[in-house]
Amino acid sequence: MVRSRLAGLGLLLLLSLSGLPAVAQQVEYERQVDVAPSEESIGEGYVTPEVQRPRPRAMHWQVADVVLLGLAMLAAAWLALKSRRRAGLVALSIVCVAYFGFYREGCVCPIGSIQNVAVALVDPAYAVPYYVIAIFVLPLVAALFFGRVFCSGVCALGAIQELVVLKPVNVPPRLDRALGWLKWVYLGLAVVFAVLPAAMRDFVICRFDPFVGLFRFTGEAWLLILGGVFLVAGVFVGRPYCRWLCPYGALLSVFSRYAWRSFSITPDRELDCGLCTDACPYGAIEERRAVRTDCFACGRCYRSCPVHHADKADDAARPAA
C-alpha cells in the first residue's frame, strides 16, 4: 500500500515535470487560515499524497493527429489518383477506422468541427484551438486539390461504412438526388443550433453522430442502435450517412467541384466500357465518368476495370515468364 503510494507519487513527480499542473481546477477558497492539518501536526512521517491529475492529451499528440490526417489524405490521393489501387484504399480505410475511429474515438472530427468554427465566427467569447482549425480546414484544402480524398478512407465515419458495403443496390438517381439535399438541411440546422446563445447552444451533429458511440463502445442505447442500423443498411446501400446526411460532405462536394486534380475515369488509363458504373455503389458515375462532387474515391471502379485486371494479370505473369 505504502509502496504503491510512493510509486504513484514518483510517477506523479515525473508527470508534473513533463508539464505544469492544471491550474484551472485549483480555485482558491477564501480561508482565514490553512485549515488542513499540516504534515507536521499529523506526525509519524506522514506525507500528504499528491492528487494525481492526468493531463489532457498533449499538444504534440494533437500535432501528430493533424499530421497523420494530412498524410492519410495524401496517401488516399496517391492511391486514388496515381496508383489506382482499391486494395490500398481498403487498407487505408482499415487503418483510419482503427486509428481515428477506435483509437482516437472519433473526436474531434472535421464533421463536428463545423460547429466549433461556426460558433467561433459568431461568438466573440468562443475560441477554437489551432488543432480544430487545422482539422476543419485541411480536408477542404485537400478537396480543392484532389477532391474528396478525406471521404475516401480517412474519415472514420466514412471508412467504416465503406468497409461494410457488401451488396449495394442501385438507388434511383432521382431519389438519390432528393435525399442528397438532406445534408444541406442538416448542415443548416447544425449551424443554427451551434450559433444560438451559449445557454441554448447544441452541437446536433455530435449529438446525433451514429457511429461515434460504436467507436467508443459506449453511449446512449438508442444512438448505438441507430449506428448499428446505419451499418446494416450500409451493407445494402452504399454509405447512407455520407451521401445523404453528412454536413461536411456538403461542404466537400462544393469544394471538390473545383478540384485541381480529381478522381477520374479516363479513356486512356481505363477501358471506358461502363463496367465501372455498375461497380460504383454510390451512383457517382454518370456517362462512364466520375462525378467529382459525389465521388468518395473508393476505387471500386478501378477494381472493376478490365484494363486494371489485365495489368494485374500481366504483373502476375511477368515474374513467371
Binding site: Q32, V33, V35, A36, P37, E40, S41, G43
Partner: protein, 273 residues
C-alpha cells in the same frame, strides 16, 4: 422559538467582514471586522470607531477598558479612546489570533494557525501552551477558528470542533474534562464535521455555543447538559464561525458574518431557569 426580540445592531456598518464581538462591563458592544473596531452603545448606536492595522479577527476588553484586537501574527491593544497602546508580536507562536481572553494577570491568545492557545502574562511573556493533548498539535479545528472563554474560576472552555467537544483547561494547560459528542440528529450532540465553532459563557456559567452547517445557537448548562436550541433558523445557511458574547442579562450577541451585523438574542424571562 424562544426569542423574545430579534434585534440587530451594527447593521450596515461593515462592508466585507464581521468577525468578532465583545462586551464591556457597561454593556457597550465592540465589534471588529473589515479593518476597524466599532463601538456601539447597548442600544446599538455607534459610539466610536477606529482603524486597525490589519483586519481584526477577534476582540476583547479588559478590566481597564483597553481593547485587544487579534489580527494576523499580532495583537493590537487600544485604549478606550481608540489610541494604539501596544502591539504584541511573537513570531512562531502567534499566527492568526482568533480569540483573546484576559483575566487578572493572564492573557490567553488563540492561535488558529498552529491550533494552540498561548498563555502570556500581562507584560507579554510567554508562559505555556494549552491544548497539547494531541502529541503533535493542538485542537482539531478544520473550521479555521479556535475560540474559547474563561469562566469565573479562571477555567478555559475551549471549542474543539474536530472532536465535537467543549474542553476545559486549567491555565497551566491541564485538561480538566470535556463534554459533547457527535450526533447529527439529536440537538444535544454536535453535528457535522466540526462543531461547535465558537462559544461563550454567561454569568451563571452556562455555555453558549454556535454551530455551522446549519448555523444555530445552543446552550448547555455548566455540567455539559444540553438545555436548549436558541435559534436554528435565524442565520444564512452559509454562516459559520459566528463569534458570541453574552451580557449580564443573558442576552446573546452573535456576530453574523453573512448579514454583517450583530444579532442580539434574548430569551423570554420565563424560559430562563
Amino acid at each position: 422559538m424562544k426569542l423574545e426580540t430579534n434585534r440587530a445592531i451594527a447593521s450596515n456598518q461593515f462592508s466585507e467582514a464581521l468577525r468578532g464581538v465583545a462586551l464591556d462591563g457597561e454593556g457597550r458592544v465592540y465589534a471588529v471586522g473589515d479593518s476597524s473596531v466599532k463601538v456601539f452603545s447597548s442600544e446599538g448606536e455607534l459610539v466610536r470607531q477606529w482603524k486597525t492595522a490589519l483586519p481584526g479577527q477577534c476582540v476583547a476588553v479588559d478590566d481597564g477598558g483597553r481593547i485587544w484586537v487579534g489580527e494576523f501574527e499580532q495583537v493590537e491593544i487600544f485604549d478606550a479612546e481608540g489610541r494604539l497602546a501596544d502591539t504584541w508580536k511573537d513570531a512562531g507562536r502567534l499566527g492568526l489570533v482568533t480569540s483573546i481572553g484576559i483575566r487578572d494577570d493572564d492573557v490567553f491568545l488563540a492561535d488558529a494557525t498552529a491550533r494552540w492557545i498561548r498563555h502570556y502574562n500581562r507584560v507579554g511573556e510567554f508562559l505555556n501552551n494549552i491544548g497539547d493533548r494531541h502529541r503533535k498539535g493542538g485542537f482539531h479545528i478544520p473550521n479555521g477558528v479556535v475560540d474559547f472563554a474563561i469562566d469565573a474560576d479562571g477555567i478555559l472552555h475551549v471549542a474543539n470542533p474536530g472532536m465535537h467537544r467543549v474542553e476545559r483547561y486549567k491555565p497551566d494547560g491541564e485538561l480538566l474534562g470535556h463534554f459533547g459528542r457527535f450526533d447529527g440528529r439529536d440537538p444535544a450532540g454536535f453535528p457535522g464535521c466540526c462543531n461547535p465553532t465558537n462559544l461563550a459563557l454567561d454569568s451563571s456559567g452556562r455555555v453558549v455555543v454556535s454551530e455551522k452547517a446549519g448555523p444555530r445557537i445552543k446552550v448547555y448548562d455548566p455540567d455539559g447538559e444540553f438545555l436548549e436550541v436558541v435559534t436554528d433558523d435565524l442565520f444564512d445557511p452559509a454562516a459559520k464561525n459566528m463569534d458570541l458574547a453574552v451580557d449580564a442579562g443573558g442576552r446573546i450577541y452573535v456576530a453574523d458574518p453573512v448579514a454583517l451585523e450583530i444579532r442580539v438574542l434574548s430569551r423570554r424571562a420565563e424560559t430562563v431557569p
